[in-house]
Amino acid sequence: MNKEHDYKLNNYSSIGINPEVSLQMEQDNWGLLYNPANDSTMGINPESIFLWKQLETGTTIKHLTCKIKETYTGVPYDIEEKITEVINNFINGGFAIIQGEDNTEQRGEI
């Protein structure tokens, strides 16, 4: 759970990376996230690295879903759930944070 705020993750939550976290890329295009605050490491596959890169500039689940559909072919029908699971793992490990609600998206302004 996000420690600083009481936001709950939903499709319009604005999510960003924890700036203390580093991403170390490996030769097989997987990567390692490291959070020095809690000395925890997470191994992530290339698809999760793609999501992580989107988080670097702040985004929402809704936006990530669109981005994945634009970028990849054969995207599974339940992609939004899968993305939510990955993002929840990022947040629960302190790697990413919920910054607030993106009301512009909810109002359909993008």
């Binding site: 997987w30 390692l32 925890s40 997470m42 191994g43 596959n45 490990g93």
Partner: protein, 377 residues
């Protein structure tokens, strides 16, 4: 995506390793347990059947799901059929490590009657000369092959285990092809542990350098594995394996020391982490004939120290490795044997780090700089 940080641990006793016989019918040069050679004139302790039964009965309510039978040589045990029957009746998964020599069709059928049997058979070469040079007994190669064929005949496709040594590495590829031919499922490549007879081999310079092992590993997993339908597993600490090899769709998981979930029972009935109690008396926790397994599991000071420190106390390179919680020192028993501390690093990782061969992406930030500085010096 896999988080390598452990959650709040629950210490379930999921597996018991039974070292069924103190003797062995082979005399392998690298064996870390170094059992004595048993023949028609010499015989040694075997685990009493009633102790095996009583420990299984005690362990089931503690979460036991799997039993590993090893040795010495488990198939030498005079009550091996009763043991296999009991394991089956108790609904436990069987994991068997054997040299294959005594695996007749009768033994193979008894093994096959167990639940999900996983069997590994040692073959240290693709030829009689190479295998028997390492195993020390004439005739053991053809008997091991026969044993494997008996297993395949009853539907068990075993894992072949090859221990890598300077004299057998030219037979890695032929061994993989032999394994295919005789119906194995996978081949696992082990490095020699500098414990027991392995320690003697190491001190005599008859083991492979870290550099050579890493080069071989890269070739096995990166090239040879694409030329065979068999699964090839190069068994080194997780820091030296790619993330996709560990966690990918066909990944084999991390190589973690499972000491927090297992208990070893030696042939004399002693409890230990694993077989390490044969070498290190202070890692014998009690005796199955007199001590309650539950008491030992929950209250023995060494096990308590281990659980309290396993997420935080690793020292040296193990403390500076991203994979520390997915590896847990790789083999705490080996680490203790060498240093008399639970928290000292695994020798392979330590040597690799000193030689600038530790994968930089697996090092915590401070340790990367230190390794570069080591290499320059």
């Amino acid at each position: 995506m896999i988080e390598t940080t452990s959650k709040a641990p629950e210490y379930i006793l999921s597996q018991i390793y039974y070292y069924l016989t103190a003797g062995c019918n082979l005399a392998c040069r690298h064996c870390w347990l170094s059992p004595r050679l048993q023949d028609s004139t010499h015989s040694y302790d075997v685990l009493p059947l009633n102790i095996l039964k009583s420990t299984i009965e005690q362990a089931k309510p503690m979460g036991l799901t799997t039993v590993k039978l090893t040795g010495g040589e488990p198939l030498m045990h005079p009550h091996i059929h009763d043991i296999l029957n009991f394991i089956r009746e108790q609904g436990l998964i069987l994991n068997l490590e054997t040299n294959g020599v005594l695996c007749t069709s009768k033994e193979a059928a008894a093994i096959a009657s167990c639940i999900n049997p996983f069997v590994s058979v040692s073959l240290d070469g693709a030829t009689i000369e190479t295998h028997e040079k390492n195993r020390g007994i004439k005739g053991c190669f053809s008997k091991a092959i026969e044993g494997i064929l008996n297993l395949v005949e009853v539907g068990i496709h075993p894992q072949i285990i090859m221990t890598l040594l300077p004299h057998n590495i030219s037979e890695i590829e032929p061994l993989v092809h032999l394994a295919e031919l005789i119906g194995a499922d996978s081949v696992k490549f082990n490095i020699v542990q500098p414990t027991g007879r392995g320690r003697t081999l190491d001190s005599e310079g008859e083991t492979l350098s870290i550099d050579r092992l890493l080069t071989l590993g890269k070739w096995i997993t990166g090239t040879l594995s694409h030329s065979t339908p068999l699964i090839l597993h190069f068994d080194v600490p997780s820091a030296f394996r790619s993330m996709s090899e560990i966690y990918g769709e066909t990944g084999m998981g991390c190589s973690i020391c499972s000491v927090t979930q297992i208990m070893g029972v030696l042939a004399d009935g002693s409890y230990s982490f694993c077989g390490i109690g044969m070498h290190v008396p202070e890692l014998v926790f009690g005796h199955a004939a007199t001590d309650s397994l539950s008491d030992i599991w929950h209250h023995h000071p060494v096990l308590k120290e281990l659980r309290e420190g396993i997420n935080t106390n690793f020292e040296g390179i193990c403390g500076s490795c991203h994979m520390k919680r997915a590896c847990a020192g790789y083999c705490i028993a080996q680490n203790y044997y060498r240093s008399r501390s639970l928290w000292k690093p695994f020798w392979f990782c330590e040597e690799a780090y000193k030689n600038g061969l530790f994968p930089p992406s697996r090092l915590l930030p401070g340790a990367i700089t230190a390794q570069i500085s080591n290499r320059k010096n």
